[in-house]
């Protein structure tokens, strides 16, 4: 969809500077890097043109605000107050006076310029190392004006990549379930928004219960559970066209769907006669394969990023625990051995960790462990929270949290939260209504 209109012309200007500033991302946000995001400069004519199309008085300022918020939200950067900036945007973008930026303790500086060219938005931006007095990166690209928010996200991704050495996760979206109404009869709709909460859109009307949407890692498809006609089944939805279809022809409930890393298969559970097992369906040839065959509940499957393994939870030991097996169902090994129940395992896009939900002594935790079950680390504890989903760079987890109601059963809410892999930077993600079951998309542009 949007991707199609995004014409990215990356003009890589020579990067000579030796990277002196670097963000240490292994320790979380203990010392966020002070960064100055100068408003992008814009000429009067371009300013007026964008104002006419987008109803934004100064698109240069607006894009800089997006970059600033993204950097701040990551917990790794500390964007400095604009009021302290001494240099004007246009001059700073040509050649910053490093002493001025040094004076306000900025270690990195981002400058840029937006112009209206042939009905398109052209942006160029530069990242400067203030202490070394050098340019670290310069890029330019062109897109349709309506993509202006994505321009801010793409700039953030490039800056993040240059300073941390890891891929960004800002030009992404979240699909989730929007919730409303009394706890005993919630109205649930599929909703999608940008990673920063903007451009929220509802994809279903709320006529039937919908749960657990998950993005395809390769395209604009979503798989989710719908109670359409009171038959809970896994559906496939093309968010570009709005077309949807049932996945497979099962005589009972199918649930807990996820895509394979190549986007070609859906893995899910099928429940029949009180027993849930894991199945895959190939979306091209429609061949259904049974992966587990055990009288216990086997559900919440998730592929490893290379597609060779599957993690899932099962109560075959008597209680819900996490297992790993080959993609053909062979070689099943239990990996969770700590105290409590373990569920919703999701394999990190980097391949080295599995995120999970843990229930122990009446508290719910979001945690991570290595894929052999060692190195368990709990990131956050609460009354109720579950269903972590990884940012595409494997750096941040998004999940949902529900509140405890009072003695009268009032005060229920469900919200999305995100947390850094280090356990720092726990934040509520603002949504229009209550929200649950978040799933993070891949990077929309690369």
């Amino acid at each position: 969809m949007i991707l199609r209109y995004l014409i990215i012309l990356l003009i890589l200007l020579p990067i000579k500077a030796f990277a002196l500033i670097e963000v240490d991302i292994t320790r979380g946000n203990l010392n966020p890097l002070p960064v100055a995001v100068s408003p992008l400069s814009i000429d009067e004519k371009s300013k007026n043109s964008f104002n006419k199309i987008l109803k934004k008085k100064n698109i240069g300022v607006e894009i800089a605000v997006i970059v600033e918020n993204n950097l701040k939200q990551s917990g790794l950067f500390n964007p400095l107050n604009k009021d302290a900036f001494l240099q004007k945007p246009d001059i700073a973008n040509l050649k910053p006076r490093f002493e001025d930026w040094n004076l306000i303790k900025a270690q990195a500086l981002i400058t840029g310029k937006v112009t209206f060219v042939d009905e398109k938005l052209r942006v160029e931006f530069r990242l400067w190392d203030v202490l070394a007095g050098k340019e670290m990166m310069a890029l330019a690209f062109t897109t349709v004006p309506s993509n202006w928010r994505r321009v801010g996200h793409i700039i953030t991704d490039k800056v993040y990549e240059r300073l941390t050495g890891e891929n960004g996760y800002f030009d992404t979206r979240i699909i989730y379930v929007s919730e409303k109404g009394p706890k005993t009869n919630r109205i649930k709709k599929l909703a999608i928004m940008d990673q920063d909460g903007f451009n929220n859109k509802y994809l279903t009307l709320g006529n039937e219960l919908v749960l657990t949407p998950r993005f395809s890692p390769t395209n604009q498809m979503v798989t989710y559970l719908s109670y359409f006609k009171n038959l809970p089944r896994v559906y496939l939805l093309d968010i570009e066209t709005g077309l949807q279809e049932v996945v497979g022809d099962f005589p009972g409930m199918t649930f807990a769907p996820r895509f394979s890393p190549d986007g070609k298969k859906i893995i899910m559970s099928f429940a029949q006669d009180g027993n849930s097992d894991i199945y895959t369906m190939d979306l091209e040839n429609r061949i259904v394969e049974r992966i587990t065959n055990h009288p216990s509940i086997d559900t919440s499957p998730s592929f490893s990023p290379d597609g060779k393994y599957i993690t899932f939870n099962s109560d075959r030991s008597g209680y819900q625990q996490i297992y790993v097996m080959n993609n053909n169902g062979k070689n099943v090994k239990r990996i969770s051995f700590g105290n409590g129940l373990y569920g919703t395992p999701v394999w990190s896009p980097r391949g080295d960790l599995i995120a999970f939900t843990k229930l122990h002594k009446g508290k719910f935790y979001i945690g991570v462990m290595r894929t052999d079950g060692t190195g368990e680390r709990l990131l956050t504890e609460n009354f109720y929270q579950e269903a972590p989903s990884w940012s595409p760079n494997g750096r941040v987890l998004i999940f949902y949290r529900e509140t405890k109601t009072n003695a009268k059963g009032e005060g229920f809410s469900a919200k999305l939260w995100s947390i850094d892999l280090t356990g720092y930077n726990e934040k509520m993600v603002e949504t229009e209504n209550d929200a649950s079951d978040p799933s993070w998309s891949s990077l929309l542009s690369n």
């Binding site: 559900t299 569920g343 919703t344 109601t405 229920f412």
Partner: protein, 159 residues
């Protein structure tokens, strides 16, 4: 359903009844809870006079208690008398479990009730099963009593 499964379920019921008899004296009955199974009548509706529509479960369990089996025998008798009526067994879990696991657990609970009705002569094609997991609690409280009311299988007339 295969034989091993029937045996397995039968075995579970047998073991459960042994366990229940064994600890009938120790099991604490506090108000409307026995152990953590709901024994009250709040939220219970009736398919017909004297025929309660629902049975309750212990945390993480699918085993039918003595009271649940009595309720299901009443339902079976009523269904035998009203052979034109079909039912949907709606299985539910409390809010203290992950969404996907609870969907499976609700399905299991409803099937536990279905299996029992079938042993009392109700044909499987008169019974369908629908799991709501934790999506449709009857009590919105966040306390053990509320959760016990929500762990249930409800028989609903389908026609």
């Amino acid at each position: 359903m295969n034989l091993s499964k029937i045996l397995k379920n039968g075995f579970i019921i047998l073991v459960a009844s042994l366990v229940l008899t064994a600890c009938a004296t120790q099991k604490k009955t506090t108000g409307q809870l026995q152990g953590d199974v709901y024994t009250g009548s709040d939220s219970v509706e009736y398919l017909a006079s004297g025929v309660p529509d629902r049975v309750f479960f212990a945390t993480n369990e699918i085993v039918l208690t003595t009271a649940s089996r009595e309720t299901l025998r009443k339902q079976a008798a009523w269904l035998r008398k009203n052979s034109d009526i079909n039912i949907v067994l709606e299985g539910h879990a409390d809010e203290r479990g992950t969404r996907e696991y609870n969907l499976a657990l609700g399905e299991r609970r409803a099937n536990s009730a279905k299996d029992y009705l079938m042993t009392y002569g109700i044909s499987s094609n008169r019974i369908s099963v629908l799991s709501y997991g934790k999506e449709r609690p009857v009590d919105s409280g966040s306390n053990p009593l509320a959760w016990s009311k929500n762990r249930r299988s409800v028989s609903v007339k389908a026609n």
